[in-house]
């Protein structure tokens, strides 16, 4: 039979396209799954509704005797019916065995003719659900762009790639339209397979984009590179150079989470990064419609934890009220009742309640002390003092973090990078001279030589926000006109100090401090340190509570620049 005619097209890869099961990347995709998930996957594939996408090999004619001979030497003889095959896999679920057994049965037995792209996608997604921390997600916010009022305006050369801040429109997302538009953005020499899925328990829609470097959308795309090298021992298929990228659309939130791309075979880092850039570029175009254009803007949030991402950028109320502010955002049903204005009971905010309790406890404690005189002797004032301090630290932690950032809340952010731009804290008695200024300049120039990815984005954040904070500049410019009388008018100590700081800003030594916090749950760790008394919770800057909702940022005056916490 002649091979089917294949023409380069711009269509997407169909889900039923089969990949050779001997392909190492297919084997890899399957063998990294656990046995239970493999079996549940196989049962999913055997579902009657999935038969158009992933049919297993079955005997054509159950009564035919010749067939028996055909498969006599076969290790995994094909089943007669779907039901029978389902039973086989169901029975494997109940008994113990190795994972290898299942993989072999799938690849060499029931799907020996190849796994469809749909199956590969499902297996890949299953792995993602089993190991939620394997992908690093970056969050982007969808902004609407200004629409030119008239055709002539465009010709006048004015740039309309400005974010329409006045827009009262919340971007809406329609999966199939989006996909059709995204497909139009993909270049013709690249083929992609798309698969939408809704993970259980997460309010988001997951899109898996699987990219192949092939102009064909038929078998040629996934089989060995055509004719000429067929006899060669080393067969490279374009499947090996495939890359996968995930895009998550949280429900009711104008944000998009894009994962770093994974690749099946060896590809360079630059290549994967460019793919991601390509997708990030294509998504706003796919979301846009005539007279309704969108753009994506990074919100400096990167994490491996989708739960954490959703709590910071999801549809809930806690987006711009995390940390200690979460008391206002509480979503629990009990909160709703106590918060109603019809509730005549006195509110018991967590802190006041605790202090009352603490007093009670202390009274009870003293009472018990008097009862057990032996204990009283062992407790010297130092221990009591220690106890008190411990309680205080706990309270402070509660005040700063609210109910968030618990070590077991499953919303761990594993890395936080900050660039501190504040001048070195100096006391008024220290006199600086011009040399310090020189140092500062050098220090600022320093990092440009060796930028890595994080540094670059941090610096970018620092530069970005310059214009978001014009008042800061105004301050800088105005300070010459600020007479000493003005300064005397300031009343509060903190403000006076800030003014002085600003005066000194030009000459202050700004060491180039970059802070990188790593761990399974960075902010929970800080909370624990506060609770243990290693960090003074009252003097701790706000960004250490995670309430700014970013994992990268530049710090000026002790705050993350750009007022990130407001989520606007």
């Amino acid at each position: 039979m002649a091979p089917p005619l294949s023409l380069p097209t711009t269509a997407r890869l169909p889900s039923f396209l089969r990949v050779n099961p001997s392909n190492p990347s297919v084997i890899k995709v399957l063998s990294r799954l656990s046995r239970p998930s493999l079996l549940s996957l196989a049962l999913d594939w055997l579902d009657p509704s999935n038969q158009s996408l992933c049919p297993p090999i079955l005997r054509e004619n159950p009564s035919d005797e010749e067939d028996e001979d055909d498969f006599e030497s076969d290790l995994y003889p094909p089943a007669h019916s779907l039901g029978e095959l389902r039973e086989v896999y169901a029975s494997m679920q109940t008994r113990k065995g190795s994972k290898r057994e299942v993989v072999d049965r799938i690849l060499e037995g029931d799907w020996r003719e190849g796994l469809s792209l749909y199956q590969v996608a499902m297996a890949d997604l299953q792995y993602l659900y089993d190991h939620p921390g394997t992908l690093k997600w970056a969050c982007y916010k969808i902004h609407r762009l200004q629409t030119p009022g008239h055709e002539d305006d465009v010709d006048a050369g004015r740039s309309y790639d400005k974010i329409d801040k006045l827009s009262m429109h919340v971007p809406r997302f329609h999966p199939s339209t989006f996909l059709r538009n995204l497909q139009a953005e993909v270049l013709p020499d690249v083929k992609a397979h798309y698969n939408f899925d809704r993970p259980k328990g997460l309010p988001l829609l997951l899109l898996r984009i699987f990219v192949l470097d092939s102009p064909y959308n038929t078998d040629l795309a996934v089989s060995a590179a055509s004719g000429s090298s067929s006899s060669a021992a080393r067969v490279v298929t374009s499947f090996d150079t495939s890359r996968t990228i995930y895009v998550a659309f949280p429900d009711a939130s104008p944000h998009i989470f894009v994962s770093k791309s994974q690749n099946a075979g060896p590809t360079t880092n630059a290549e994967t990064r460019s793919l991601r850039a390509l997708v990030v570029e294509g998504i706003p175009k796919a979301l846009s419609r005539p007279r309704e254009r969108y753009t994506l803007k990074s919100v400096n949030l990167q994490t491996k934890n989708l739960d954490a991402m959703l709590s910071l950028r999801g549809s809930g109320r806690g987006n711009a009220a995390s940390g200690g502010w979460s008391v206002y955002a509480g979503d629990k049903t009990a909160d709703a009742r106590t918060d109603s204005p019809l509730n005549s009971l006195l509110p018991t905010p967590p802190l006041s309640d605790d202090t009352a309790e603490e007093d009670d406890k202390r009274v009870a404690y003293i009472g018990s002390q008097e009862a057990t005189t032996t204990r009283k002797r062992t407790l010297d004032p130092g221990v009591l003092e220690e106890e008190k301090r411990h309680k205080r630290a706990k309270l402070v932690a509660q005040a700063r973090f609210g109910d968030n950032m618990r070590i077991d809340d499953g919303k761990g952010i594993e890395r936080v990078d900050v660039l501190i731009e504040d001048p070195f804290p100096i006391y008024a008695t220290d006199v600086e001279d011009e040399d310090d200024g020189q140092d500062a300049k050098e220090a600022r120039r320093g990092p440009k030589g060796r930028r890595n990815g994080v540094d670059a984005s941090l610096l970018e954040a620092a530069e970005d926000d310059e214009d978001e904070n014009p008042e800061q500049h105004r301050q800088g410019r105005d300070q010459g006109t600020n007479g000493p009388g003005d300064k005397r008018a300031r009343t509060t100590g903190r403000q006076a100090r800030q003014e002085e700081d600003r005066d000194r800003e030009k000459w202050a030594w700004r060491p180039n401090v970059r802070l990188s916090l790593h761990g399974s749950h960075v902010f929970a760790g800080i909370r624990q340190l506060v609770e243990a008394g290693f960090i003074d919770g009252e003097r701790m800057p706000g960004w250490m509570t995670g309430e700014e909702g970013v994992t990268m940022g530049a710090i000026r005056n002790g705050r993350i620049k750009g007022f990130r916490g407001s989520g606007l």
Binding site: A252, A320, E468, E471, M540, G558
Partner: protein
């Protein structure tokens, strides 16, 4: 070795005790709640105030209850302040309060103005929405949204840009005149958006109920024309997606105020204008559609 629990429906002694304890605990909690409620009511009663004040002003000192009285009076003040606040909250739907930013580096000495939006949905007060504002610029009285609990489906950033504009970056200076911040307009617009959102969501809920979808019980007659699903199709609850048993699916788009903008039904063979006509029946508002559904 303890005897294995028998598979009989009767629970073991331990389990029964656990059940009983749990029940008693719940009872204790509810009783405690009752006591608290009664105290609160008694505390705010006018007669209580009279008794308390007459005793403190009275010349006859009761040496035993002096401290108690003071405590009670303090409690009374607290309670009546709370009562007053609740009254304001229930009637005014927008109240303000002052918050102190715990961040030691907070702008403006940590002063934060809190706005509290009370909303009602399904004849109940929902948890209020909060918007916290601060003044980041020392020399000016410009406000900026600091924290908020407004859901993403409310275009808060657009409202802020309209009513609470901040001095823009240099390059934007040319095209806009000095804008003034208008807090009351901002608040009104935001409250309007919030109320409209809740009303739209409620309308969809009502429609569900009218179509008999909210109740768990299985309908006794299964007709072909029955609607099997009604749900909000977007975050802003402006679009309603409908599903019929025979595979038709439809989309009803309403505007901000709940007026029907358009409706499309996709049948097995193309668009189904007949269903649209039947379903809408000349209704201008979504509530009217719900009413006609109820009457069916």
């Amino acid at each position: 070795m303890a005897a294995r629990p028998s598979p009989s429906p009767e629970l073991s002694v331990g389990d029964r005790l656990h059940d009983e304890i749990a029940k008693l605990r719940a009872q204790v909690d509810s009783l405690k709640n009752d006591v608290r409620l009664q105290t609160a009511t008694l505390m705010t009663a006018d007669s209580t105030r009279q008794i308390l004040q007459s005793q403190t002003t009275g010349a006859r000192p009761l040496e035993t209850s002096d401290a108690t009285k003071l405590k009670l009076l303090a409690r009374f003040r607290e309670q009546s302040a709370h009562k007053q606040r609740c009254l304001y909250r229930a009637c005014a739907s927008l109240t303000t309060f002052k918050v102190n930013d715990p961040d030691p580096n907070a702008v403006d000495g940590g002063n934060v103005l809190g706005l509290r939006f009370e909303l009602m949905s399904k004849a109940k007060f929902v948890r209020p929405y909060y918007v916290m504002l601060n003044r980041p610029y020392p020399d000016r009285r410009l406000l900026r949204v600091h924290r908020h609990t407004v859901p993403q489906c409310i275009p808060l950033s657009g409202l802020v840009a309209r009513h609470l504009p901040l001095p823009t970056a240099k390059d934007d200076d040319d095209d806009d005149a000095p804008k003034k911040q208008d807090l009351s307009r901002f608040v009104r617009a935001l409250r309007r958006e919030l109320v409209r959102y809740h009303n739209r969501a409620a309308v969809i809920g009502d429609m569900k109920k009218a179509a008999g979808l909210s109740s768990k019980k299985i309908p006794d007659h299964e007709s072909e024309t029955e609607i099997t699903d009604i749900s909000a199709a977007d975050a802003e609850a402006k679009q309603i997606s409908l599903q019929w048993r025979d595979g038709r699916s439809g989309r009803l788009v309403m505007n901000d105020d709940g007026e029907v903008v358009k409706m499309v039904v996709q049948g097995v063979n193309g668009q189904d204008h007949e269903t649209v006509r039947q379903f809408l029946g000349g209704a201008a508002r979504v509530e009217e559609v719900t009413m006609s559904l109820e009457n069916h």
